[in-house]
Amino acid sequence: MQRRPLLKKTLGGAALLAAAGAVPLALRKTRLREPPAGRKLLFFTPAEYSIWAAMADRVLAGGEGPTPAQLDVAGKVDAFLAPLPEGDRKDLKQLLALFENALFGLLLGGPPRPFTKMTAGEQDRHLRSWQSSRLAIRRTGFQAMKRLTCAIYFASPETYASVGYGGPPYELVKSILGARK
């Protein structure tokens, strides 16, 4: 139901992306990050994996508990997205390309670097500019990336302690079910 109009609806984002791609600045390469050994990517290219991992680092910065890299949030997002239908896959990949694109960022007041090569402070400013942008396409894109990143991270039992959650009461359930038998 969602995602399909991400880039097409409000701005003609695909056209914008195509125009941006014609300029050398837009072709600056992504800083690559290796997935953990044994993680085979199903949805992302290595560059897309690296963009998501860099974004997750900043979205989830400043808290206790495991880092997004330790949980391989980007790898879990990759597995979650693998069954997406073709139209959704294309839109999400375009979104990531736009998010990383140095020229698009520069046009909107950012530094002349792809997201993965920005400093942490620049990355936070980039995320804030997407979050509260006047352009609906960027606000929507930010929400899509942030929600999925948070969902994957905070649904992981390793993070429960960081939010004061004791986890599901398995023992209570087991004992009651046992007694009922």
Binding site: M1, Q2, R3, R4, P5, L6, K9, R58, V59, L60, A61, G62, G63, E64, F80, P83, P85, E86, G87, D124, L127, Q131, S132, A136, R139, T140, F142, Q143, A144, K146, R147, L148, C150, A151, I152, Y153, F154, A155, S156, P157, T159, Y160, S162, V163, G164, Y165, G166, P168, P169, Y170, L172, V173, I176, L177, R180
Partner: protein, 508 residues
């Protein structure tokens, strides 16, 4: 018998008396009533069939498995997150058990405006039977958790109407995991009640069965065409399904039912129009003491003090469980501010304001159309009526929590409004409102195949038969002409129980 998609090794051709598409409260009820009346019934359900042993109380498992779009359903611009069940038993598997009869004034509105036949007297025996069957009983205040009790206490201090709600449970442990599938079978879902009844009376239920379209000719639906899915991946197994019934019942729920009609070219009348969501805005109240909204019955208190406000849209106030994944999606911001709020999750009371949509003059609600791949697309634009109601709801929630001693109350705007005293409440009016500038949700989807006497204003007639395709019924929340103003599950059951008589008449 219940059949799973990956257990069926050949293409299916079925010729039952009745084919029911969807197994939520509408479809399950019709299946039980018709099977017990001696009809041969086949139920086709896109979601999987799960039992309590598979409910592990983990959000990471439950949402992808038991919710539409693997937990990621949303309006087209992502401004409204859509929580909607997808399993044998439909929304009854994942809802938070709050059970209400349809308000009398809502039924009166439907009769006056749309020619509905429903009266409190007509529905009463159906409600009574459902309440017995599902163990629907009012919660004692001492059985509520602190998250819900904060609403009760705050409203009482302000002199506002508030009460405990009725829940469809038996032997509830109040673990707090209703939304992830009840691990102890306390929640009386359709999967534990009306569907087993239907199976015992000879009905066949096909899980993991996605219906692509309904074939029809002239004024008759001739076949439901679909495919079987692997329960885990939700990818097609390669096996097809063709069901040729005498009567077809569409019970896919709001959003999916209108989408199925649109895919099938059964698009006479306002199919997909006037979709209602009870749009939700939330506030987080931070207390000094632990609230632990993770545990305890997720919803057990509600205030309908503001349900009827005259000019502005009404709203009602309920609690939401505070599990980490769901909370993190709603919490605004990112980085340290987000992590700081999440670190205090155990001290947060999460309270919802649900707008009662559909009663404003000229109110259009949402529209369901089709994406290029045939899946439903929901557009639900907000207008001045929504923003006024959202702000009124946020302010009411802030006031009740301040009255109850909350340290501070925060909105879910991108830049949260932080309220520590009455003087801060005006900040809600100043905060910018627009798509994706604040968190909005829906857990109650209604309309899109509205019932009524006028074919230009409705999709099905007052007996829920399609206006033009005479052996086709739509029986689920999509036929409601407006939002309900209460949680919809029990109303859908009762409507389906009543409408089953008309399906039976169509068979004979």
């Amino acid at each position: 018998m219940i059949h799973k998609g990956d257990e069926i090794a050949q293409d299916l051709l079925l010729k039952p008396d009745v084919c029911i598409i969807g197994s939520g409260p509408g479809g399950a009820m019709v299946a039980q009533r018709l099977a017990r009346a001696g009809a041969r019934v086949a139920v086709l359900e896109e979601g999987g069939f799960y039992t309590k042993d598979e409910f592990d109380m983990q959000e990471a498992t439950a949402y992808p498995r038991l919710y539409q779009d693997r937990g990621n359903r949303a309006s087209a611009d992502l401004s409204i997150a859509v929580l909607q069940g997808r399993a044998v038993g439909g929304g009854t598997v994942v809802n938070w058990t709050t059970s209400y009869r349809t308000p009398d004034d809502v039924l009166a509105f439907w009769r006056e405006r749309e020619g509905s036949l429903l009266t409190p007297e007509i529905l009463r025996p159906h409600f009574e039977e459902i309440e017995r069957r599902l163990g629907i009983e009012k919660v004692d205040l001492e059985d509520t958790n602190a998250n819900n009790r904060s609403i009760y206490q705050g409203c009482k201090k302000l002199g506002w109407q508030v009460d405990t709600v009725s829940r469809n449970v038996r032997g509830c442990l109040r673990t707090g995991y209703c939304g992830m599938g009840c691990p102890v079978d306390a929640k009386q879902t359709a999967t534990l009640t009306y569907l087993p009844d239907a199976v015992a009376a000879g009905a066949d239920i096909y899980a993991d069965c996605r219906v692509r379209k309904i074939e029809w000719s002239g004024s008759r639906a001739t076949a439901a065409i679909g495919e079987l899915l692997h329960p885990g991946t939700q990818q097609a197994t390669g096996r097809t399904v063709r069901v040729e019934p005498r009567v077809m019942v569409v019970s896919g729920g709001a959003l999916n039912s209108p989408a199925l009609l649109l895919r099938s070219g059964v698009d006479q009348g306002p199919v997909g129009k006037k979709t209602w969501l009870h749009p939700v805005v939330a506030m987080g109240a931070f207390y000094k003491e632990r609230v632990e909204g993770f545990y305890g019955a997720p919803q057990s208190v509600a205030s309908h003090h503001f349900s009827r406000r005259g000019e502005g849209a009404g709203f009602f106030i309920e609690a939401a469980p505070v599990h980490p994944m769901l909370a993190s999606i709603a919490m605004p911001g990112f980085g340290a501010p987000l992590r700081g709020r999440m670190a205090l999750l155990g001290n947060v009371a999460a309270t919802l304001s649900l707008m009662i949509d559909g009663f404003g003059e000229g109110e259009e609600g949402g529209t369901v159309s089709l994406r290029p791949d045939g899946a439903p697309r929901l557009d639900y634009p907000f207008g001045a009526r929504h923003y006024e109601c959202f702000r009124a709801g946020m302010k009411a929630i802030a006031r009740l929590h301040l009255a109850n001693g909350a340290r501070e109350v925060q909105s879910f705007h991108l830049d949260p409004v932080v309220i520590r005293s009455e003087a801060d409440i005006g900040g809600v009016d100043a905060a910018p409102m627009g798509p994706n500038l604040f968190a909005a949700f829906t857990a109650h989807q209604m309309g899109g195949c509205r019932m009524g006497a006028d074919p230009a204003r409705s999709v099905v007639d007052p007996r829920l038969r399609h206006h033009f395709v005479q052996n086709l019924f739509v029986i689920d929340g999509s036929v409601f002409p407006t939002g309900l103003g209460v949680n919809p599950m029990e109303s859908i059951y009762a409507l389906a129980s009543w409408a089953s008589t008309h399906v039976r008449d169509a068979l004979s």
